[in-house]
């Protein structure tokens, strides 16, 4: 069970995860992550672009690696592109496994790689000005945790 999608409009992560969970048989553990556009700051809009010839392919390769590393029964990754407002979901990842450790590690692994190693580019509109966002040093450090183990 494997659902990897890039979506161009709003999506409902709760519904996606619910449908995915129902389709999984005999899964003792389901871990999920939803990332949204943060509000409360000066950001009034966020835009994610991608390069289609690489994006889906890259996410499939990431899923392959997650299945190889963790004892998974299913993996869902949905990543939105386009213009979004604060509060709107950007990404949903969900992993089903026999035991909790595999499921938890898998969503952690996928998020670390989607954040700084997948073909997305993010910019924020603050006031009248667009700013390109690069991964924080923590994001790179988070991703490098996995390199040591492979």
């Amino acid at each position: 069970m494997r659902l990897i999608r890039v979506v161009e409009g709003p999506f409902d992560p709760g519904e996606e995860i619910e449908r995915f969970a129902r389709a999984l048989d005999d899964v003792g553990a389901l871990a999920s992550f939803v990332g949204k556009v943060r509000g409360g700051g000066a950001v009034c809009q966020l835009e994610l672009s991608h390069y289609a010839p690489l994006t889906q392919k890259g996410m499939e390769a990431l899923a392959d690696e997650a299945f190889e590393r963790f004892d998974l029964r299913g993996l869902l990754m949905v990543h939105r592109v386009g213009a979004m407002k604060p509060g709107e979901p950007i990404v949903a990842v969900s992993a089903g496994a026999r035991h909790r450790r595999g499921a938890l590690l898998a969503i952690d692994f996928c998020m670390d790689h989607l954040k700084s190693d997948a073909w997305f580019w993010k910019r924020e509109l603050r006031g009248e000005q667009w700013h390109w966002i690069e991964p924080r040093p923590e994001d790179h450090a988070d991703r490098l945790r996995w390199a040591e183990k492979s």
Partner: protein
Amino acid sequence: MPVRLVFLGKLADLAGGGERELDAATGWGALLTTLEPELAAEVACERVRVAVNGTLVADKRTLTLADGDELAFLPPVSGG
């Protein structure tokens, strides 16, 4: 058939648009001379990767392009 250049992320701002066409197929060095100096310096950076027809290129300096190719310039990413 021309070669298509695709600029992603902030490279699109710098290029003044996400896409461009080049009249003739060419290698990496010749390609850089067709770009504005600031843009050329940026895409020459180690942090910028390139893909030809959806396949990442290991060493962009050894690149050769054929008619109809799509060359994408990929700056550091940021998703999630």
